[in-house]
Structure formats: C-alpha cells, structure tokens
Symmetry: D2
Subunit: 354 residues, 4 copies
C-alpha cells in the first residue's frame, strides 16, 4: 500500500456538488431535465472516449510500437466500442420523451445544438475525419455554426495527426509483407489468379450448364477479376478509391488472412476494434437521425427535416475506416491461401521453448 492522500469522501471525490448543480432548466418543462442529463452524460462519456483515444495515439506516436503495448491499445479501443454501444442504447432514454414534451422547451435553445459539441467534433477529427470530407448542413459548413473561438479550436485539432494516419503508418511498417524472399503481394496475386482461372475451368467443363448460364458464370468471374485488378492497380497514378496507402492495405490484408499467427493476433484485434468503432459511430448517427425525425417531424414534401437528412448523410459518408470494410471483398478462401514459408512463420511465433 502506497502512502495515502488525505482522506476524502465520496461526494468530494466525485465533485458531486459541482456536477449535480449544473442542471439549469431554462423553462418550467419537466422533461428539460432529462434533456440536460442525457446530453451531460453523453459529454462525460465523450471525454472518456477521448481519454482512451489519447492513450492509443500516444502509443502510436512512438517510433516503434512495442509488442507489449498491443494489449493496451486493443483494451482501450475495445473499451471505446463498449462505451459507444452504451451511447447508442442511451437514445432509448431520450425517446421516453415525446415530441409534445419536447415542444415545451425546445424554444429555449434557439441556435444551440448538438452540432456545437466540440468533444464530438474532436472525436471525429482525432479518429481521422477530414474537413474536406464533411457533409454541409443547410448549404453551409458545420463550422459556420460555431463561435470564432470554437472554429479556432477545431482548426488546431485538425493540425494534429489523426488515429487514421497513425494506423496507416503503423500498418505500412509491418515487417512481414516482404520478409527475406517472401513477397506477400506476389503470392497473393498469384493465388487470386489461380482461383479465378480454376473457377473458369470448372465452369467451362460443366456440361450440365446451358450456354446462357455458362456465360453468366463467366461474366461473374470477369467482374471478380476486375475488382481485383482495381486493387492491384492501386498505387499507380491514382490511388483512389482508397484512403489507406497501398502498403497499409497490403499489411491489413495480410493481418486479416493470417490472423492466427501469434504476432498477428493483436494487430487483428486492433483492426477489428477500429471497424467496430466505425460501425458503432455510424449506427449512432443513424439512430440520432431517427430520433430527430421523431421529435421534430419533417418538412412536408421533402421526407425529412434538414437535421434528419444531414445526420443520415453523415452516417453514410463520415466513415473513417471504411477501407477495412472494403478489404472483405478481397479475401480469398482459406483453402486457396498461400502457405507461409517456414522461416517467416517461425518469426511470427514465440520461441520460448528454445
């Protein structure tokens, strides 16, 4: 037991006098209290999420990310996922308020809106959402709804490196993509090519297929090949539609395909957690959009309020780790997966038995 600080009680430790006196309803409406507390707890949880992202970013800022830190990173990201899921469910609590109850006090915050949550903007920016990718709201950038001071804070946040960029660099440094004589990209391309031509032979040899059916199958295979060609041409002039660098893409695919190799188990968990974060934030945006529609109704003829529409668009477009989802397109069945050379596989494992 370390030395103990002066004794402190529960109330003062948690600063409850400050926390519990910070609900100032501007109307007499009963449900304004719920509105305040829902949003205050959201902000507290955003603080926690940012605190975890801080920790992860600090580790990723090291020149070499130590293997010992892999557990810390995945524990932090998995905690973020749990928190975000909790926040999605929390919308249920806000929806115990009815639109009529909301109407009793929604005039009090004329222009105030969740829009102005700096912590949420920071979260988006820290994860890697770029200003240029933002959806505009009512024809204007979301920043135009912020105070000049807040706009400056946002610009400062944007100058710092994002988790996306750090992950991109970390992946790109993965040593196993090319190791000794092993060239993952080469063997993977060959495996894809073998798979497609194997499938083609099967189709051609299948005498029970009519001409039309055979042609359909061949067309499908050609589409598959085109998809892969698009991947293989990445890194030329134009790397679109990817945001990750080619090296990072290759490493991510390697991790996903050979995830059971001891050294790849932790990176695999990390990639999964990043996808979970992306997916859960998307879900949160969409859930939020539905809630707004329920509370505010919609403009007749448009099928949505501008708030609802905006949120649905952000759900679709503000995807940060979408490239990791796209990689599913390029997985190949385990049976066609090239076997790792013995020396590479050994380097991917432990050698405590030596």
């Amino acid at each position: 037991m370390a030395k103990k600080p002066k004794d402190i009680d529960y109330k003062n430790y948690l600063k409850l006098p400050e926390i519990l006196s910070a609900q100032h309803r501007l109307s007499g409406a009963h449900d304004e209290m719920l509105f305040l507390i829902v949003h205050q707890t959201y902000e507290l949880w955003f603080k926690q999420v940012l605190f975890e992202i801080d920790r992860v970013q600090e580790i990723f800022s090291h020149k070499v990310v130590a293997d010992k830190d892999m557990r810390v990173i995945s524990a932090a990201l998995e905690r973020v996922v749990e928190i975000l899921k909790h926040l999605v469910r929390q919308v249920d609590l806000l929806e115990t308020m009815t639109p009529l109850d909301f109407l009793d006090f929604r005039h009090v915050f004329r222009s105030a809106s969740g829009f102005q949550s700096l912590q949420f903007r920071e979260l988006e920016i820290r994860l890697g959402l770029r200003s240029s990718d933002r959806v505009s709201y009512d024809g204007k950038s979301y920043e135009s709804y912020l105070s000049p001071e807040d706009q400056k804070l946002i610009r400062d946040m944007e100058k710092k490196g994002s988790l996306f960029e750090q992950v991109d660099k970390w992946l790109a440094r993965t040593p196993f993509v090319t190791m000794g004589r092993f060239d993952f990209w080469k063997v993977y391309r060959k495996a894809v090519s073998d798979m497609v031509s194997g499938d083609r032979s099967v189709v051609m040899a299948n005498t029970s297929l009519g001409n039309a059916a055979r042609q359909m199958e061949i067309n499908k295979l050609e589409n598959v090949q085109k998809q892969f060609d698009m991947l293989f041409s990445t890194g030329g002039q134009d790397k679109a539609p990817w945001r990750l660098s080619l090296k990072a893409l290759q490493a991510a695919l390697l991790v996903m395909l050979y995830r059971d190799q001891p050294v790849l188990q932790a990176p695999f968990r990390i990639l999964n957690a990043l996808m979970d974060i992306d997916e859960t934030m998307t879900l949160w945006r969409y859930r939020h959009a539905l809630m707004v529609q329920r509370m505010l109704g919609m403009k007749m003829g448009s099928g949505g309020s501008s708030g609802h529409d905006y949120l649905v668009q952000t759900a679709a477009k503000n995807r940060i780790f979408i490239d990791l989802f796209a990689l599913s397109t390029f997985m190949i069945p385990r049976s066609t997966l090239p076997k790792l050379p013995k020396d590479v596989e050994e380097k991917m494992g432990f050698r405590y038995g030596d």
Copy 2:
C-alpha cells in the same frame, strides 16, 4: 386448476428433438453453425411477432374496438417492440463472425438469402408495406427472387387488410374529432393562426432586431405557415404527401395533443408503439446493411455492395407509419392548445363517482 393433460416432459413439450436436429451445415466451416442458429432464432421470433400482430389485427377487425381491448393491443404492440429491439441487438452475435470465417461457407447458399424470408415479407405486408412502394434489387423486384409458390403466397398476403389500413379506419372513427358543437379541426386551425400571428407581432415589435434579422424571422414564420397550409389543404384533390386519410390524421393529432384525457391514454400508447415498431424496423434494416457491408465488402468505386445499398434504401423508404412521425411538425405548444369544452372533456373521462 383445470384438468391436466397427460404428463409431458420439457424436451417433448418444446419439441427439442426436432428443433435441435435442424442444423445441417453444408460445409465443414465452424461458423456455419452460428449462421444457422442466428437465422433460425430470427425466424422463431418473426413467428412470435406475426402471432402478436395477428391478435392485434383480429381486434381491429371488429366493427367497434372495445375499450377493454385497448390494453391487449398496446401490450401486444409493446411486446413486438421489445422483440424487435432484441433482434437488432442480435446482430452483435452474428458479427462475432469475421468476414474470413464467413468466406469459408458462403458459397454453400448461392442464391439463398434473407431476401427469401417469407415471414419477414409477411411482417412487412401485414404492417402495411405496399408492393408498389418496394425498392427494387439489382433492377428487379424482390419477388423475382422468389419461387413461383412463394410469389403466390406473397400475393395472397397482400390481399388481406394491413394493420396500417385498420389503424387508419380506427382513427378515422374516433368520435371526439367532432362532438356536439366541438370541431377539433376548426379550433386547431384557429390556434395555429393565432400562434403564427402572435409570433409575427413579437418579431415586428422587437426593436433590437436589425432589418436583416427581422426579415429572417419573418421568413421562418412564413415557412411555418406554409407547412401548416400544406396540412390544411390535405383532403382536397391530392392528399399526398400523406398516406393516412385526413380524418385519421386529425384524430391522431387530437390523440397526441390531448393524450392525458383518460379515453385517449390508451390510443396514445398505441400510436407510440406503432412509431416504435416503425423506428426499430428501420434500425434493424440499417444495422443489417452495415453487417452486410462488413461481411461482403463493397464494389470498388460504388461505395457499397448491392446488398448494402439495397438495405440502406429499404431503411429510408420502407417506412409504414411515417405519417405519425410527420405529425410532430404540427404540434403546437401546450400553452396555445385550445381548451376542450366541459361536456367533451367529461365524455373523455370516467364517471364512477356518480
């Protein structure tokens, strides 16, 4: 205690031999079992949901829906909401499977897909989704993916009355919209008009506003008025954009605005539960879309797989009780709400003290 049937044990009561032997994996892939069980439990819950909707539809098919049955209807609909929320969460279980694991067996059901879930289609149809409102999939109607027998079953389902239509008629019969000398629509229109002109006076009298700001406020009020005019013109030549009849819309608004009157408390719960069902099904579609994207990846350049895109579209468009959401636009603050005449209010209450 009634007479007891022959003793039966747990296993036979639940038909466990049948249930637990119905998982036939077509591949050797471990996760195919999860896939089977996730979908089988979905289908079991769909059966339960349909069973509850049956009950509700049976009651609504009565010429007069008895006040005693109101509790049964809302209990059934609220149970449906709980089940649907459970099914949304259940996607988490399917997502413990990774795309690579899915790849191990997804070839086994070439054309089989959740698309072909007749119970889900029945649920959509029974709630009120019209064939003409359906989103097409890869340029073809979803029916074209069904067997001829299933197409026939679908057509038969569509001939039966939907819950939407029943709710529309039930609402339209609400006696309180016009009762004696009370004409809800008239007093409501007057209240709206008073509210808007009152707001306009406040704006005009506000000397602290500059000209530009004043004009902006006036424009906003005119937009509000236009929205209401669109509502008030409903019932003329063209009732679009509403699907509910004008009488039903009026009754729904009455229920929402005067929900505390004893006789309206149960109808209010019912309208809320219908909105919850609509919202939770929407969420389920969207969650499903994200899961599909994660498992299958996406076509490069399109930003989505056709499965993902289709599901996102159904989330946006297959809304059945969307009119109830739209009504939030037309709520007016409680302070401006017309007081009910004494005799109407009395009829809305109990008189057990007499």
Copy 3:
C-alpha cells in the same frame, strides 16, 4: 412560440465547463478516469430518477389522484425503469477495468465508497425502504459510515412520506373493492373455495390414481388452501408477513385480476412499473455485488468479501414492493374468476357513446 431567452450556446446551456472539469484523478492511474466518469454518470442518472419520483410523489400527495394524471405517473415510472436498466448495463463499462488496474488507484479513496451516495440512499428511502429493515455492514449500520451532516440529511428524508406509503393509501382508496352490493373479497374467497373443492373432487374421482399419488395431490391442495388461509387471515391481530394494508392488497389483487376494465388499465400499468423498479434495483444490487467480488476478490474461507456479501444481502432483503410479487401466489385462473356485476362493470368503463 413563446418569447425567447437570450441566446445561449450548447456548451453554456449544458454547463460543460463545470461538468467536464470535475474529473480530478488523485493517482496517475489511467483507469481512475473511467472510475470517476462511471460514478458521475450514475449520480446524474440518480438525479433524474429522483426528479421523476418527485413528480410521481407530488401527484400521489393529492387527496384524489386524477384519472388524467395516471398517464403521467406511468410514463414517469416507466422512464425510471428504462434508466435503471441502463444503469445495470453500465456495469459492463466499469468491468472493462481489470482488478490490477483498479489496484493502481483504489488506495486513494480509503473510506470513500458508493455507500456514501446520498442520492442512492434518498432513492431507497423515497421508494420506501425503512431504516429498521436495513442490512448492517460489518456489524454496523450503514449510517455510521456517513458524516454527521449526511446522517442528519438521511433522517430528514426519512421523515417525508415514501412512495410505498402513498401507493398503499391510493390502493386502499380504490372504490371498486366494495361498490354497491359488490364485495370483491367475498366473491374472491368463494371462487378460491370453489376452485379448491372442485380440484379435490377431480382428484377423488380419478380412479387411475393410486393411493399414494392421490394423497400427494390432496396434500398439495391442502397446502394451496393454507396459503390462501394465510391471506384471508390477514388483517387480524397480526398482518405480517405483509407490509401493504389489507385494503391495499385487496385492491392490488382486483387490479391485477380485472386489469382489462378501462378504469383499471392505468393502475395495472403502475403496479407493473413498480414491480419492474423493484426487480431492476435488485438486479442492480446483485450485479454490483458480482463486480465488487471481481475487483476485490474475497476473503479466503468466507466465499465473499464483506462488500460482496453485504450487497448480496441487500439484493435479497431491500425489496420494497415485494408484496406485489407475492400476489402472484393468489391469482386464480381466469376461468374461475367471478364475473363483475353489470353496474360495476359499467362504472369501470367509458360512456362517451351516451
């Protein structure tokens, strides 16, 4: 639209500067932040729960609880249930912290403990937990762990009427238990007696039963009868084991058995919500007990830490509306339920068609 207050932005409306600067870690441990935020959000939600209970208690303090207020009561209680369920799930977030991480900072709050949450104590007291029913902790009353000022606050809270007492009185006033010539208790006792003697005849007439089996059945019926006798003898010298008054018990049973009568639908919802609150708080205590065991381990040989044991005991004993659960024992099948006299049933319904 009412007059608008001076424009306020999101940050100041929510008092984010105060809220987000109230996390002072006393150690350098990363996870102390999680600990602070979990507990702060718990306290914010407790505030909301108390705010809803206030509203309910205010209505129940009226001489006559208006039928119009029934919806408000059940909406408030059902919101409390949703919040409590959210708080049970929130334990998952705290459990993303491991015992070793907790050890890094648990020395900082030597004597501070959730024990000292005044709001939680207030919630217990307001719901109806009596000081005399409290479980002691380490041989001492929980109050002895509080500061003198907090002890005084607790005593003041205990002087106010509890929700339990209000519900007891409200139920006892239910007019339908005896109405005109209808005496619910009398017809219910007769129905019970008929049911038991009917079952006895069936058993005696069942020639396929052996003597031993028949005796077993008869014993069971005698046990059933004894249970009911215990209910029927309530209200004599000793009303134990009930806490509700006999009149309230009778009314609660009436509400549960005839819940579809329009006038009883809302009271039925209220009783259900009270049971949900009781059950969810119990679950919260138990979940909390498991979490404590996980974080702190247990004394060898005792199978629990004193904190764990205490919480398990409070889960078992701090039940406030347990009498409502006990009433399930005394339900009789709908087929044996006495029919209400026509005039009573009429008074239980609406008469808007008159």
Copy 4:
C-alpha cells in the same frame, strides 16, 4: 470458389418447415406461444454455446496448446460471453408476460420444467460443475427429477473431462512460473512480505496517529498477512479452499500480473473470458430467480418459492471459475511487482527483428 452444392433456398437451408411447425400449444392461451419460443430460442443458443465449448475443449485436449490456437480459444469464449449476455437480456421478453397470463397455461406442463434442460445441464457439467457441489431442490438432487435415460446421459457427460480441468492442467504447464533461475513464487512471496513490512513501518512512523488508530492499521495489515499466508500454505495437506491446483493458481496469478508480456496477452484474455462466462451465468441464474418469483409468487412466510430459493442458491454456489475471482485478493500494486529477469522477458516476446 469451391465446387458448389446443389442450389438450396433459404427456407430449406434453415429447415424452416421443421422449425416453424414445432410450436404446439397445449392450451388455448395466447402467451403459451411466447413461452414456447422463448424456450426454444434458449435451447438453440445453448446448442451454439456447447458447439463453441466443444471447439475449445478439443484444442485444450491437445498435448500442447499451440500459440496459433490461442486466438481461436479466446474468440470462441468471447462469443460465448456475448451469447450469454443476450440470453440474460432475453428474460425481458419473457417478462412481457404477466403472472395472470402465465396462469392460463402453466397447468399444462405439470412436471416439465427448465430443470430438465439437458443442454443446460451439459453446459454446467462441461464447464466443470461437479455433481457433488450441486444444490438440492426440495431436498432431492436435481437428477431425481430426470427420466432414467436422461440420468444416464448426465452420468456419461460427467465422465468426460471438463473445461475447468483442462484449464487447470493448461495453466499448470505454463513454462514461465519457473524458468531457469527465475522462480515466480519466490519473488512474489518476497514482494508481498516487503510490501507488508513497508506498510507497517509507515504506520509505526506516523506520529499523527493515535494509539487506537495505529492499532487498527496494524490489525488490518495482520489480516492482509493472514490472507496471504493462507495462499502460501496452499499445497500442503489441505488445498482447500481452492479448487485449482497450486501450480495453476501460480500461473494464473503470473498471467494476471504480467499480462502485457506478448506471450501472456492471449492467456490473459482467456482467463478474463472464463470469468465473464462465470459471472454472466451467475447473473442469468439470478435474473431467472427473480422472474420465477414474479410469475409464481412466493410461499407466505418463507420469502420465496422453492424455485426462487433454489435458483438464488445456484447463483451463489454454482460458480466454476470462482478461484480466478479470488485471485484479485492477491494482486499487488504494479509498483511493488518484481521485475522479470531479462532472459525471461525476452522469451516472453517476439524476436522477428533478429
């Protein structure tokens, strides 16, 4: 793409005709359907849980558990946790049924009960619940409620090795507890001893403490020492109160304390998942107990029905991995943790950079 099996549609792939025709209500009661479907989905999920445990047990049955299989084990166990959490939440769905609704059909399954769920018994047995540790029900063993055939199946299950035993052996084989000159138990005992005597010096030197306060602190430290002595004396004549072997306990503590070492990251996840499984099953039992109490009421004077009491007891006693919870008692602050020798730490890491 592998060769494709004959085309199969959704309905036949899932065996929906069998699954969806297996709900035979024995009463006319509406809610019997819910009861059937809740229990059938429980059983389907139990099948999935057993399927995952199978996989884990198969791997643990290998002479050496390969590092590559660590990911598979933790993924399987974490999936089990997710499923069990889903099943705990599913109790909410059953509780949408009221006790009166249950009364309508509970006579149909006189003696049938969840008790007779063989899959649940198998799960308990496979995890490691011993027959001798079982709680009796109404004075009789739970087996006496089973048919002779089922009793035989249970006995056969008990003959197979349990996951508990496999984990015990796997932990006991951990090479790092003693490696070269490193003896974990020795350095850990020394660290404990240093910690306690250091704390004692601080207390003795603290002149601001009165005699009584000082004595209290000293007593506390002696209790701490006694706890540790109990651990250190484990492995003598009597290993109670532990079920894990001493070697396994040592390894588990090593894993928990040095969890960031690459080679211990996966074992740490596995231990955590086992605790989650234990905790979630306990919660399920308790939730189930509350549900039974709500549906069936309780015997007056006893405070519980025998079903409720039994389930509460199983929640407290049927703990399989409770030793892992107990280990939290024996963690020591990271600051006092002995540093690993360089050669041991190297063996715990990867050496791909060589």
